[in-house]
């Protein structure tokens, strides 16, 4: 916390005559300048006042002043016949300050020793709003709503109006600004009442790129025009519709433009009235639609999902190839494909192609061989058959020999295994038997 360079006046305090509660000295002239913060009134309450009474408080007195103007002059004692005692009534300053002047004469003829006075003061909030007029008499303090606050006040305006820079008066609001919601309603100031004069209202509808705005004017449309109804000239009052990369269009007359597609994600509306004429005003509801992308073409041996009639901004498509086919893009295989409709109405990736898969050369079989039974180039669904070099090797009993190029690019047998068979040596069976006939 910073210590303030100048401390604010206190909200309350006490003031007493010299030597109180002892009798005050003679021949005294003392002044107190009391103050509370701006926006408050100062209320002074006496807890005791015992000053030598005299007519008009001629000898000893306590004078209360505001801006050199005497508000009261006190002397005497409570319930005394002489003097002027404040009693229990507090004294309220017109402003936030008061001056007290305590004066005593040279003598005190009475045997009674007067004690002087003791008082406390406090800040009391001013209800500025209850003041009938500001000081300059220019009208109500707030032209519409006034809210009292401690030490101050503030003004506010009804819906459709906005506070002027003077912070007191309200003016009809254009309701302009930026409209970035996906849909909304705009209307001329005060609609359906006639538009005020001297308007220069700007409305900007600006939604996220990828969405396009459509304006839908209500039937109740009237902007002062010159010329015929069919060919109005928007000379003095107009509503100008500006779409990027297009010529601005001024609207006026009594015929509603109705539905107005803009094909843009931003639209600016400028409503102008001069200081004469009459425009009943206008109102419109705007909506937004997602930008449309072209429907993807057919992918041979594959399919595009999801299958929509139309595709819009942020729609995703995927391409999946039929079983046995692989995704190829720009000559290279890709694992998956997904493309999004962009905010410019174009797909972010061009469509891939589906090419048939290839199981590659079948694994060579040691002491055996492999031959193609059907298909070629090792493509999907090609069939090969393994064999062993007979009679020195044979397939292990039960081993399968036919393998088909499967969708996972492996040669698989009818048991779905991709392990090739083994050629087992044939033992103990010479091809040339020892023969002899001699006994």
């Amino acid at each position: 916390c910073w210590r303030l360079a100048r401390s604010l006046p206190a909200l309350h305090g006490e003031v007493q005559s010299p030597q109180f509660p002892q009798p005050y000295p003679a021949a005294l002239s003392q002044q107190w300048d009391l103050s509370v913060p701006e926006g408050y009134q100062l209320q002074l309450s006496f807890t005791q006042l015992d000053i030598e009474p005299s007519a008009n408080c001629y000898y000893d007195s306590l004078t209360v002043l505001y801006d050199k103007k005497v508000l009261a002059k006190f002397c005497g004692q409570e319930n005394s016949a002489d003097g002027h005692h404040p009693g229990n009534q507090p004294l309220l300053s017109p402003g936030n300050r008061l001056t007290l002047v305590f004066q005593t004469d040279d003598t005190n003829p009475e045997p009674h020793q007067h004690l002087g006075f003791s008082a406390h003061y406090q800040a009391k909030d001013i209800d500025e709003c209850s003041a009938p007029d500001p000081e300059d008499g220019s009208g109500p303090l707030c032209s519409q709503f006034c809210h009292n606050t401690l030490g101050s006040y503030m003004c506010s305006c009804r819906h459709g109006y906005e506070l002027r820079p003077d912070q007191r008066t309200c003016v009809l609001s254009c309701g302009g600004g930026i409209f970035d919601e996906p849909e909304g309603t705009l209307s001329s100031p005060g609609y359906p009442d006639p538009s005020p004069h001297g308007l220069a209202c700007q409305y900007v509808i600006s939604v996220e790129p990828g969405f396009i705005v459509t304006l839908n004017f209500t039937d109740s449309f009237h902007i002062e025009h010159i010329g015929t109804q069919n060919v109005p000239s928007c000379l003095y009052h107009w509503l100008q519709v500006s779409i990027p990369d297009k010529e601005p269009q001024k609207l006026c007359g009594g015929k509603s433009p109705g539905l107005m597609p803009t094909n843009s994600h931003t639209v600016q509306l400028d409503y102008h009235t001069d200081w004469a004429g009459l425009s009943q005003g206008w109102s419109l509801h705007y909506t937004t639609q997602r930008v449309q992308c072209a429907s993807p073409s057919y992918v041979t041996n594959g399919r595009v999902t999801p299958n929509f009639l139309q595709y819009y901004y942020r729609d995703y498509i995927q391409v999946r190839c039929d079983s046995g086919y692989k995704l190829i893009m720009d000559g290279r295989e890709i694992k998956s494909y997904a493309s999004m409709c962009q905010n410019n109405g174009k797909w972010h990736l061009s469509l891939p192609e589906c090419h048939i898969i290839d199981c590659g050369e079948p694994e060579a079989l040691l002491n055996g061989g492999v031959k193609f039974i059907s298909g070629s180039q090792n493509q999907y669904l090609s069939v090969i058959q393994y064999h062993c070099n007979e009679p020195f090797y044979s397939l292990l009993g039960g081993a399968t020999v036919s393998y088909t190029c499967a969708a996972d690019r492996k040669w698989r047998d009818n048991l779905d295994t991709h392990v090739i068979p083994s050629c087992i040596p044939v033992c103990g069976q010479p091809t040339e038997p020892i023969s002899g006939f001699q006994r």
């Binding site: 040691l366 002491n367 020195f392 090797y393 040596p425 044939v426 033992c427 103990g428 069976q429 010479p430 091809t431 040339e432 038997p433 020892i434 002899g436």
Partner: protein, 250 residues
């Protein structure tokens, strides 16, 4: 092989010829990376033979032609761990495996021999066949692979033969005949395996599958082809567990 015949080409395609410092031995192809032989071919006087000194030849019945071929690369030698014969008197567990560096490709001249079938039996009198490049008649080493058909000899008969040999040569330590061995041969002599054949196969034929299987490995004998004496062979059926484990572990 004494009293046998020359084996025509490709008739005994599992035959392997081993050579260590000029001494010849036989062995058997049992897989595309494994060869089986007698342990005493790989452990001589209690000392293991270096694998670099072992030359392994396959694919021909002519020893001279074989010796000109490039020997098969040997990856490792695996004599049976319980074979312990420093004094040439204990041929128990006379079996070993040789692992090759490269796989063999089988064809008509190279083919593996089957291992004993489950529950293999050695029936006395059953005719088997033994082959090798070892000594034939008149102490002449065979240049071409020879074979002979010999019957399995009953255990009692074989034990008697060994006992008689012991009795006849009291100062010579005749090896013991154990359950891990069996005998084959004819009592009248003249037909037998001999030096240079050891490690080769004594094969029996399975009647149902018509396949030859390795019943024995040429191991030892008292002399060769002598009357009343038989050749002693390692009983391979006893070692199926060790063979499979050794191949799996290596």
């Amino acid at each position: 092989i004494m009293g046998g015949d020359k084996a025509p080409d490709k008739t005994i395609p599992w035959q392997v010829m081993l050579s260590v410092d000029g001494s010849r031995g036989g062995a058997i192809v049992i897989g595309d990376r494994w060869i089986m032989t007698a342990a005493h071919n790989l452990v001589q006087q209690g000392t293991p033979v270096l694998k670099e000194k072992l030359r392994v030849f396959v694919g021909d019945n002519d020893a001279e032609k074989l010796a000109k071929l490039t020997p098969l690369g040997v990856a490792s030698l695996h004599p049976h761990p319980e074979y312990n014969n420093p004094d040439d008197a204990n041929y128990n567990h006379d079996i070993a495996l040789i692992k090759l560096q490269q796989s063999l490709t089988f064809h008509a001249a190279i083919m593996p021999l089957c291992l004993p079938p489950e529950g293999a039996t050695y029936t006395s009198g059953q005719i088997g066949m033994v082959s090798g490049f070892g000594i034939k008649e008149h102490d002449i080493i065979a240049n071409e692979l020879r074979y002979i058909r010999l019957p399995v000899v009953g255990e009692d008969k074989c034990q008697d033969s060994v006992k008689k040999a012991k009795a006849a040569t009291p100062i010579t330590r005749i090896p013991l005949l154990t359950d891990n061995m069996f005998c084959a041969g004819v009592p009248e002599g003249g037909k037998d395996s001999c030096m240079g054949d050891s490690g080769g196969a004594y094969v029996l034929k399975d009647d149902s599958t018509k396949r030859f299987w390795a019943a024995g490995i040429v191991s030892w004998g008292v002399g060769c082809g002598q009357s009343g004496r038989y050749g002693v062979y390692t009983r391979v059926a006893k070692y199926i567990g060790w063979i499979n484990k050794t191949m799996e572990d290596n």
